[in-house]
Symmetry: C2
Subunit: 320 residues, 2 copies
């Protein structure tokens, strides 16, 4: 059954539109097995073309409805689009999760749309490390548009959504929501703020609060627009696409896009290096020994620095 | 000149009150040389006794004046107190920086008070990694009270101040300040909020805003009190000490203190391990080669995963 795991077959199949082959490749990359780096390196030269859009905001803010609208808009100009739905709190994963299909059921029959959920697999480095690799894979396979939607606003999710070319922060009307957004660190990462469910009361106040809070921060070349929408009816969605298009033009003309992408690549190199090193330490030390050492450090019967030296020794690397 | 660097002499001298010996030990630990781990391991068994108080807030909020008040209060019950002033943006460091002495000049003649500034040395792991080690050193040398004051509210500073037993967040009256605190992530880490310069208008609104914002978050066993002070005159300072004392009682009686400290030790073990691994990679790869590889990754002429494998190879550790 070489076909099931051989990248030399899976990659061209995935590029030809075979979603099962693509799904297998993603699983390999997600699990971070040794072959994952080979796959990523193999598809890399064809990559660097995808536009990535991150969506974050509290659960229930309407991110999936906006993603669904984004798919519809994107599919007018591109053949294929991928959506990566990130849920660090869920132990389930896989491309066939019912939830995704329900959430984005408008596109269930559209072969040009590929939706994949990513959930915490408990592996080292975690979902925050795995997501950019899956996005790099989708980019290298040839998807020109990739949306990355997070379920909530945990630290990993904010980091993931903030790593896209354009990051949309979705809030709802009401004083609490904009402050919650501030607390979650969303004001720092948003390129565009969407006040969704704008048919509810309080939208004016929310726009004003966000405006004031954004003005308090450091000003940059790009002033994030705040766009009220009612994604369920489509109201405001055209304005949102215009804002996204303007942000893309800004990124290209200002040179920020190259800068952003270069920085992400270097961060990925360092992340890959540290993940490999950590994995190797973990695999060099029996799990029981690691747990025992952690317990002793927690109880102050071993100091953390001697424990670290002991773990380094297990890797066969002498401490300096 | 073995005396200058021999921990076997420096440690007992520092414990006997020799500030120059202590300063040398701190410098060694801060620089993260090989001997640093030995020093930390050596003093560790005597440690675990210090109470640590973190102070963070925007520049100009009055953290140093509050620290000075904290010193005065602490010195009524303990013989010695150490203050670590953290400034990641400054390239200068050392215990004799004029700024510290000016800021805390009330205590300049008090031999029981040891003030040390830490600034970014550009070394790997950075100031966020070095500060807990310096604090562990001061703890193991015998300081029963350690204050950790940050200059601003950058990410590293927030992380550092948040790692104390009790974290004080200092804001000033005015709508903007409480929102800035939220944006900087301070609402998540504050055990006690100090509205300093409370002789200025707007203190009631700030207390109310903070109260509302704190109520929006996840509730925990400890509800952070909000204490208005005028640190320059001493107004409200007694209430602040009461709040700090109550937090200490809470930490002890709830079991949170043991939990917090155990978690910090395990985090330190992992940080020490990763810092060592990273240092070893760096020292195995010529600086020019590292820069060249980074440049090539940034320019997409090498993929990040192959680059990471190349760096791992330099360490003599094969990729999995």
């Amino acid at each position: 059954m070489a076909r099931l795991s051989d990248p030399a077959i899976l990659i061209p199949d995935a590029r030809a539109g075979d979603r099962r082959a693509l799904g297998r490749l993603i699983t390999i990359v997600e699990n971070g097995d040794g072959i994952a780096s080979d796959i990523l390196a193999e598809v890399f030269p064809a990559g660097g073309q995808a536009w990535t859009t991150g969506l974050t905001g509290a659960p229930g803010a309407g991110k999936s409805t906006i993603t669904s609208r984004l798919i519809a808009a994107a599919r007018e100009s591109v053949d294929e689009m991928a959506v990566v739905a990130v849920d660090p709190s869920s132990p389930f994963s896989g491309g066939a999760v019912l939830g995704d299909r329900v959430r984005m059921q408008d596109h269930i029959d559209d072969h040009g749309v590929y939706i994949r959920s990513m959930a915490s697999r408990g592996h080292l480095g975690g979902i925050a490390a795995a997501t950019p690799r899956v996005v790099a894979l989708l980019d290298g396979i040839g998807f020109p548009e990739i949306a990355i939607e997070t379920v909530g606003v945990g630290q990993a999710e904010v980091e993931i959504a903030g790593n896209a070319d354009t990051t949309l922060v979705v809030v709802n009307p009401g004083w609490g929501d904009s402050v919650q957004a501030a607390k979650a660190g969303l004001l720092e990462i948003g390129d565009i703020f969407v006040v969704n469910k704008a048919d509810r009361p309080g939208v004016g106040e929310t726009v004003r609060d966000l405006t004031q809070m954004l003005e308090l921060g450091e000003q940059s070349e790009w002033s994030p627009p705040i766009v009220p929408t009612v994604a369920s009816t489509g109201e405001g969605v055209d304005e949102l696409w215009r804002a996204i298009a303007e942000h893309r033009v800004f990124l290209k003309t200002s040179g920020r896009l190259d800068e952003l992408r270069s920085r992400r690549l270097v961060a990925e190199m360092e992340s890959a290096l540290m993940t490999s090193l950590r994995d190797q330490v973990r695999s060099s030390v029996p799990a029981g020994e690691w747990a025992e050492l952690t317990r002793r450090v927690a109880g102050r019967s071993v100091d953390p620095w001697s424990a670290a030296t002991q773990l380094l020794g297990a890797l066969g690397v002498a401490s300096e």
